[in-house]
């Protein structure tokens, strides 16, 4: 069971809703992934095109928890405004705090992220900051009272997988809130690796929406995350430098 603030989830996969080839494929991918948390962005509406389809309106909103992000914000003030706008929908109180500090790497700005979290926590939001794999920042945010930390595995949409396993494992070991590995996951093996390290959940978007077959990939990711978690719970054997025989070394018939 994954617990974020007051909410409990059976699924440990959080799915983004960006860049799917079409709504039909997206709906199917969401369905097979069995995700219970969907992320969204907040953007201006084209008011002159009321018939424009919107993915959220095709879903049974009650079946999911919505996790809007503050993507597009470059400072705390903008992030807070987007969060408040999202909450004004009356549909959600969770927010993924995402404040980009560099447009080449899309890495988050730690200082503005921290400031935004502080304000949003005071306003009663369930706050999930997207951060770099910075162990001390994760700790400081935790002390502030965030409801989860979401370190990136590697840059957003890069599919490079986990590039600093050591830092990620440090974050996980010292965490007293859920650690959700967000961004950079490319393959089911990456997702399983995150879960095997002890992450509480994985947030994916491009790895699924950009795959050749997003529906198949959504299923593969679901299975990988379940397998990774199960393996972690089962307590793997320690790694050893040399071989240890599995078969008895005595009683050989010659």
């Amino acid at each position: 069971m994954l617990t974020i603030g007051p909410y409990e989830f059976n699924s440990r996969l959080l799915l983004g809703t960006g860049k799917f080839p079409n709504f039909e494929i997206q709906k199917e991918a969401v369905s097979v992934s069995q995700t219970q948390i969907l992320t969204f962005a907040v953007r201006r509406m084209n008011i002159f095109d009321a018939k424009q389809p919107n993915f959220l309106e095709m879903l049974d909103v009650k079946q999911f928890k919505l996790l809007p992000n503050t993507a597009g914000a470059v400072n705390a003030e903008e992030a807070v405004r987007i969060a408040r706008l999202a909450k004004a929908s009356g549909l959600c109180d969770m927010i993924k705090v995402e404040v980009i500090g560099d447009w080449v790497t899309l890495l988050p700005d730690p200082i503005e992220t921290f400031k935004a979290c502080e304000i949003l926590l005071e306003e009663g939001f369930i706050v999930l900051p997207y951060i770099s794999d910075d162990v001390v920042l994760a700790k400081r945010l935790q002390q502030l009272g965030v409801h989860a930390v979401m370190p990136g595995a590697s840059p957003i949409g890069s599919g490079q997988g986990i590039i600093n396993e050591l830092n990620l494992s440090f974050i996980i070991e010292q965490a007293n809130v859920p650690v959700i590995v967000d961004a950079g996951i490319g393959t089911p093996a990456d997702a399983a690796q995150a879960m095997a390290l002890g992450a509480d959940a994985v947030l994916l978007n491009t790895a699924v929406s950009g795959a050749g077959d997003p529906v198949k990939m959504a299923l593969a990711m679901k299975m990988a995350i379940e397998a990774g978690r199960l393996g972690y719970d089962a307590k793997p054997i320690p790694r050893k430098r040399y071989a240890t025989a599995s078969s008895p070394l005595v009683g050989l018939s010659k």
């Binding site: 201006r44 809007p68 004004a88």
Partner: protein, 67 residues
């Protein structure tokens, strides 16, 4: 009257006197939208009572795909 909607100056009939009426004017009444009126974010319950005036600034935003 003229309203500044999502950064564009838009002409609407004077009968469009509330935020709810504005949404209806554009056929958006059944859409999931969030509104900011003169830089103040409006709770949904206030859409039907919030009065509009000439030159008001309105942001109409929605949830779109994102990660």
């Amino acid at each position: 009257m003229k309203l500044q909607i999502n950064g564009e100056l838009v002409d609407v009939p004077d009968s469009v006197s509330t935020v709810s009426a504005l949404l209806e004017h554009f056929g958006l009444q059944s859409k999931i939208v969030m509104i900011e009126h003169n830089r103040t974010i409006l709770a949904k319950e206030l859409h039907s009572t919030q009065a509009l005036q000439d030159q008001d600034q309105i942001e109409i935003v929605q949830f779109v795909g994102g990660g």
